[in-house]
Symmetry: C2
Subunit: 356 residues, 2 copies
């Protein structure tokens, strides 16, 4: 099964692996990179066949549009290894579909699904020794696409590069996360690009997040840009709220990323008999629930951190603490989803994809 993925791809292996330089017992998130990457170029209206090459620098003209007009999108995925050394992906076609949704909104060319999926599998077969197995760790996978075409005219580029790189990674957040509910800054507009995984959406978050950090918070809860009355996302994660025994999350929109962890959590919660509601959530409702004791949990959900419990939030100079519960929905759902991802339990949903 293994070799047929690679048949159509040029594979240029690195001369010496860097794997022995890496301390797998002390992995940070996304800061060391594996030996190889997948590269695919778009030129003259078509995607050329993917190549696997050593992980290596990229050379670009100063006039390449990536430097000027922000045509850059990405995805974030993980590969997991089970006790038998088998390698798995989680809902990879959803990442490919979302990449192409982002591509369309940023006027970039859509990538054929086979290039994405088969390319990724071929790459992972080569990089499987790079997949860490300690709890909370995984091989973080970063597919990304950017404009290489040149010119100082504000218009879409005529050539693009798609790359998949891999980074063996430990946990994303360490420790408790206290968040600030944003009253002034926003990450996205109605009719904007918030639903796309566009590079520019992240750069725009850094400064407000820095201001929040200076006040002692680790992340920002984004609110709608018009009224700041409704919560939207938790940093670069979707947000979940537990009020009494109901698990709430906000509907996706053109301002909010359609997270794969979010939708998986909704499915698992339902299967667990947890009552879920997808509806708009007012900041005032959170505060009221916090004050009357019905607010039980608040957590972010995303590929990097899976579930990231929030210990408290700030709003208008006031701090609100979440109760310290023993058995949280967050911990339960994180375990269920991680068990599926790492092949510890059956996967009734068909989400897990075996690579090799």
């Amino acid at each position: 099964m293994a070799s047929n993925y690679t048949e159509n791809f040029t594979v240029e292996k690195c001369k010496t692996s860097k794997i022995n330089d890496v301390d797998f017992d002390d992995l940070k998130f996304g800061s060391v990179f594996s030996d190889h990457m997948l590269v695919c170029d778009y030129k003259n209206g078509t995607w050329e066949a993917p190549k696997i090459t050593p992980y290596q620098p990229i050379t670009l003209e100063p006039s390449s549009k990536i430097f000027h007009y922000g045509q850059s999108i990405f995805e974030g995925m993980k590969a997991y290894k089970d006790d038998n050394g088998s390698v798995f992906l989680f809902r990879p076609t959803d990442n490919c579909k979302r990449l192409n949704i982002s591509a369309k909104r940023l006027a970039m060319p859509e990538l054929p699904e086979a290039y994405f999926i088969d390319g990724l599998k071929a790459l992972l077969e080569l990089e499987k020794d790079w997949i860490p197995t300690a709890e909370g760790s995984a091989l973080y996978i970063r597919p990304f696409m950017f404009a290489t075409g040149q010119g100082f005219h504000a218009s879409p580029a005529d050539s693009y590069k798609f790359i998949i790189a891999c980074a063996p990674s430990g946990a994303y957040f360490s420790g408790q996360v206290k968040v600030l509910i944003e009253e002034q800054y926003s990450r996205s507009a109605n009719g904007g690009v918030g639903f796309a995984k566009a590079g520019g959406n992240y750069a725009g978050q850094f400064y407000p997040t820095q201001l929040a950090k200076d006040k002692g918070y680790q992340q920002v809860i984004w609110t709608d840009d018009n009224t700041h009355d409704y919560i939207e996302e938790a940093g670069a994660m979707n947000i979940f709220v537990r009020i009494n025994d109901t698990l709430l999350t906000v509907p996706t929109s053109d301002r909010i990323l359609d997270g794969i962890t979010r939708k998986s959590i909704l499915s698992i919660a339902e299967a667990e008999g947890i009552k879920t509601e997808v509806r708009k959530i007012k900041v005032s409702e959170l505060i009221e629930a916090s004050e009357n004791g019905s607010l039980k949990e608040l957590f972010g959900a995303g590929t990097a951190a899976v579930v990231s419990p929030i210990s408290g939030f700030g709003f208008k100079g006031q701090d609100y603490e979440l109760p310290k519960l023993e058995n949280t929905y967050g911990a339960l759902l994180k375990k269920r989803i991680t068990d599926i991802q790492t092949n510890k339990v059956d996967d009734p949903y068909g989400w897990r994809v075996k690579v090799c």
Copy 2:
């Protein structure tokens, strides 16, 4: 005077100039690049001294944050040459200030003004033969800054590169511009990064602009993302409206770029005795004015096109034509500003800066 700018800079000249390969009688906008560029690196918390090098490719790690998190900002300026061969810039410190406003919002390091201004002057002394003199043409200057620091963690980079590159350019638009007033898409959010010259703001405009082009329009008039009732910008230009004999433009905000052409036009119009008003403008007001004949002109204003007259606009499936006037404010103001830029008239404002 000339040489003292360069004293602190390393200057590495190119071996052979490309200037004879360029057809100066047939220049497009921003598609050929001059022989040299200015490069300045930010590392370990400081900006290193600028270097002038041959215009050449840039090599980056695949994990450089420019490819992932959109930390990229730019400026757009022009250098002009008068009949005596003297070289001029137009309000260059305003571009530097705005670059640093953009930098702050994108959590990027601010660049010392001396590096920007002196660097630019040194570069222009070297590139002065590249400045075209035909009417409507100029040396377009592109200062830009982007994240070189590495990592797949969504946080600001720890290193950056600032570059100034030059492109001898002809006129930006050719022919009449018909615009579509946007009812669905938006370029910026309240509390977002619309006021910054951030790369991501431009990529987000391409798809809606493409849809407008498919319908026969060349540009989009952006409206507020909440109601789409108010006009905001004209593509990548500020917008001006003439109703009867009053020249209107909308106030800048955190959604709108504070254009240097816009504010220069406001000053010149006042000096010309043209009544100006800076206030919000409703789409419905435009349509009413078009219908009752009081709408006389509509134009975009920006460095690239200076003044770009709009011949008509579409809204909700309806087309509205602008009258064809003989003596327009647009043409008058364009002439006045261009005459100052190219040293054809006195500059009572102190905007023109002689380089050499």
